[in-house]
C-alpha cells in the first residue's frame, strides 16, 4: 500500500502533475496542476488561482484523477480523488497562499496571481503505474537517490545545535554559532540570518555562510520576494524548483498583459545564490513577534524536504527565544554599567586621513566618497565619530545610545545590538581603518590610527 507521505517528492512540482476532471454532461478536462499540498494521510489540497474548468467540473461531479511523477526515479503514480471542500482562510490556506505570494512577488505579479482557494480532495486510491519505465541502466544508476538522513541522525543533530546555541554569550556569537552548526551538522552550505531594522519595514542580513562578503548587509523589503513574504506573512516557505516556479509566475504575467493588465513590476533580485534551485525560509517568531528570518538555499532541486522544514522550525523557535532573551538581558545589564571613560591618547596625529561625510536626508555615511552605511547604523556611527573628533571620546555604551533621543531608538526591544553588529561588519568590509571593539557587556571602543575629517551635507 503506497502512502501519501511516500509521494512527497512528487508534490515538489519539478515535473508538473496532471489533473483530469469531468463535467456532468460527460466531457473530460485535462490540465496541469500548479501546487499540491499533502494535508494528512488521506487528503491533499490543490491550489486554485483562477476560476477554471477544473473548479467548475468538480462542483458538478466531485471525482478527479491526478497523475504524479517522481522527479528522481520518473516513477508515475495514479491517484483517484473526490473533491471535499474549498478553504479560503485558515492555516492550510495561509500556507499555500504564502508560497504563491512569494512567487508572485518575485515575478512582479502581486495581485494578479494569488490563491483563491485551497481545494481539499479525499484520496480514494493510489496506484503505481507499472511497465512504463525500463530497468535502470548503468548511466542512470548514479542518479538514484541518496539515502535520507535517519531519524536518529536528525535528533542527534538537533541536540548538538541546541547545545551550541545555549553556549552563545552575545548576539554575534549566537548567529555565528547557529549558522556553523547548521553547516556542520546538517550540511546547509548557504544560509543567511536577517533581522528587522529599526523601521520594521526592511530586513538586513547580519550573518551568513556560503555567500562570501556579499552576505552581510543585504537588504530585503518586508513583502518582497521569498524572504520578504516570509517576514510579512510569518509563514515558512519551501520552494523545491525555483526556476520552474518563477517561470510559471512569468507565464501568468505575460497572459495577464494579454488580457489588459499593465506591465509587471520589476523583478526583485533574489538575495543569495543566482542559481539557487531550492529555497527554504522560516520566520523567527517569539511571542508572535518577528525576530528575524532564517533562509537556506541550495543549487540542487529537491534539496529540502518536509522534515527540513519541521526541523528548522524547531531550531528557529529556539533561536527567536534566544534572541529575545539576549536583547532583554543586554538592556538590563547595560542599565547598571558605568560609562564615560575618557580617551587616554586622543586621535592619532600625522596618520592617514579618512574623509567621512554624513548626508542628513537619508542618514547615509560615505567614506572617501564610497557608500558605507545608512539609517540607524549610519546615525550611530556619526554620533560616535562626532564624539571621537569633538570630545576625544573613544568608549561608548549601548545604554547611552539607547537614551539618545537624536538616534530615535524605541524604548524597548530596539534591536540595537543587531544594528551594532551590522555596523561592525560593514566597517570590517568597507573601512577596516575604523574598528568598533567590544569591551565588557554593553560597551565598546572606537579604534583607529587615522585622522578623521567629518563633513555633513543635507543631500548628495
Amino acid at each position: 500500500m503506497i502512502a501519501l507521505a511516500d509521494l512527497q517528492r512528487c508534490f515538489a512540482g519539478v515535473i508538473p502533475s496532471i489533473i483530469t476532471t469531468c463535467s456532468r454532461s460527460g466531457v473530460p478536462n485535462v490540465t496541469y496542476l500548479s501546487q499540491i499540498f499533502r494535508v494528512d494521510e488521506r487528503r491533499i489540497a490543490l491550489s486554485c488561482q483562477f476560476f477554471n474548468k477544473t473548479k467548475q467540473n468538480v462542483a458538478e461531479n466531485p471525482f478527479a484523477n491526478v497523475e504524479l511523477i517522481d522527479p528522481l526515479t520518473f516513477q508515475t503514480y495514479d491517484l483517484d480523488l473526490r473533491y471535499a471542500h474549498s478553504e479560503i482562510s485558515g492555516p492550510l490556506f495561509e500556507k499555500m497562499a504564502t508560497r504563491i505570494q512569494a512567487i508572485a512577488s518575485h515575478t512582479g505579479m502581486l495581485g494578479v496571481f494569488k490563491l483563491l482557494s485551497a481545494d481539499v480532495y479525499e484520496v480514494l486510491a493510489i496506484r503505481e503505474v507499472e511497465g512504463l519505465l525500463g530497468p535502470p541502466t548503468a548511466d542512470n544508476e548514479a542518479d538514484s537517490e541518496e539515502a535520507p538522513m535517519s531519524l536518529r541522525t536528525e535528533l542527534r543533530a538537533l541536540s548538538v545545535v541546541t547545545e551550541r546555541l545555549r553556549h552563545a554569550t552575545d548576539l554575534d556569537g549566537l548567529l555565528s554559532t547557529l549558522l556553523d552548526a547548521l553547516r556542520d551538522e546538517l550540511s546547509f552550505e548557504h544560509a543567511m540570518l536577517l533581522l528587522p531594522d529599526e523601521t520594521g519595514k526592511r530586513l538586513v542580513s547580519l550573518a551568513s555562510r556560503g555567500y562570501g562578503e556579499t552576505g552581510i548587509g543585504a537588504e530585503v523589503l518586508v513583502g518582497d520576494g521569498l524572504i520578504g513574504t516570509v517576514a510579512l506573512t510569518q509563514q515558512t516557505i519551501r520552494i523545491s524548483n525555483v526556476s520552474a516556479s518563477l517561470d510559471y509566475g512569468r507565464a501568468i504575467g505575460r497572459k495577464a498583459q494579454d488580457h489588459g493588465a499593465g506591465a509587471p513590476a520589476a523583478e526583485i533580485p533574489l538575495p543569495g545564490l543566482p542559481d539557487a534551485q531550492s529555497q527554504l525560509a522560516i520566520p523567527l517568531l517569539a511571542h508572535g513577534r518577528l525576530a528575524g528570518v532564517l533562509a537556506v538555499e541550495s543549487k540542487s532541486q529537491l534539496a529540502f524536504e518536509e522534515w527540513h522544514e519541521t526541523f528548522l522550525d524547531v531550531i528557529g523557535h529556539q533561536l527567536a527565544i534566544a534572541l529575545e532573551n539576549m536583547m532583554l538581558r543586554a538592556e538590563a545589564e547595560e542599565a547598571q554599567a558605568v560609562t564615560q571613560t575618557a580617551l587616554p591618547t586622543g586621535p592619532a596625529k600625522e596618520a592617514r586621513v579618512l574623509r567621512l561625510c554624513f548626508y542628513r536626508n537619508d542618514d547615509c555615511v560615505f567614506v572617501d566618497d564610497e557608500y558605507l552605511i545608512r539609517n540607524l547604523p549610519g546615525r550611530i556611527l556619526w554620533k560616535i565619530l562626532r564624539s571621537f573628533v569633538d570630545s576625544s571620546r573613544a568608549e561608548f555604551s549601548n545604554r547611552e545610545l539607547r537614551l539618545d533621543p537624536t538616534l530615535g531608538l524605541p524604548p524597548v526591544k530596539d534591536n540595537l545590538e543587531s544594528r551594532l553588529i551590522l555596523l561592525r561588519k560593514r566597517l570590517e568590509q568597507k573601512c577596516p581603518e575604523l574598528r568598533l571593539v567590544p569591551k565588557c557587556r554593553g560597551q565598546f571602543r572606537l579604534e583607529t590610527s587615522c585622522t578623521l575629517e567629518l563633513t555633513e551635507k543635507d543631500s548628495a
Binding site: 496532471i18 489533473i19 460527460g26 522527479p71 495514479d78 504575467g253 497572459k255
Partner: protein
C-alpha cells in the same frame, strides 16, 4: 459557432514535442489521465492521432472504447503555452512502423525540451513508450489553456 481553424503555426506548435496529456472518463463519469508520446494533426479533416503507451493507459483505453470522449492538452514546458482540444475517438489501433518513427522523433524533441528542468536525460531514456496505441479522434473544440486569467476560454468550436 465559429469554425475551428488549425493554422500552420498552430499545427507546428502541436507537433513540436510539447507535453501531451490525455483525459477520459468512464460510464459513471470517473475521470482518468494518461501521458501521450507523439501526435499527428490532419488539419483539413480536423482530426488528430495521438499515441499513448500501452503501459499506464489501460483505463484510458477502456474509457475511450466505451464512450469515445477525449480531451488532449498540449503544453510547452519552457513558457507554459498550453492548449486543450476535445473531441470524439474515431478509431483505436496498435501503432505501426511509420507511427513509431513519429513517436521516436517526438520523444527526442520532448526530452530536449525538458533539459532546462534539470531532469537527467538518462532517466528519461528509461521511458518505454512502445508498445503503444494510436487514438484517432475528431476535433470538436479548442481552448486556450495557458495559465492565467482567461485560461479555459474557448478559442473556437465546430460541429
Amino acid at each position: 459557432m465559429t469554425t475551428l481553424v488549425l493554422t500552420a503555426e498552430l499545427v507546428e506548435y502541436m507537433e513540436s514535442g510539447v507535453s501531451l496529456l490525455v483525459g477520459s472518463r468512464d460510464a459513471s463519469l470517473r475521470p482518468a489521465s494518461a501521458r501521450a508520446f507523439g501526435v499527428e494533426i490532419n488539419a483539413p479533416d480536423r482530426t488528430a492521432t495521438v499515441f499513448v503507451a500501452a503501459a499506464g493507459s489501460e483505463t484510458t483505453l477502456r474509457n475511450l472504447r466505451d464512450n469515445g470522449q477525449l480531451a488532449l492538452t498540449f503544453s510547452r514546458p519552457i513558457d507554459h503555452r498550453s492548449l486543450q482540444v476535445k473531441g470524439r475517438v474515431l478509431s483505436i489501433t496498435e501503432t505501426d512502423e511509420r507511427q513509431h518513427r513519429i513517436q521516436d522523433r517526438y520523444f527526442s524533441r520532448w526530452s530536449e525540451g525538458l533539459i532546462f528542468t534539470g531532469l537527467p536525460q538518462a532517466l528519461l531514456r528509461r521511458v518505454r513508450y512502445y508498445p503503444s496505441y494510436a487514438l484517432q479522434f475528431q476535433l470538436e473544440s479548442m481552448f486556450d489553456q495557458t495559465p492565467g486569467p482567461g485560461a479555459g476560454r474557448t478559442t473556437s468550436e465546430t460541429r
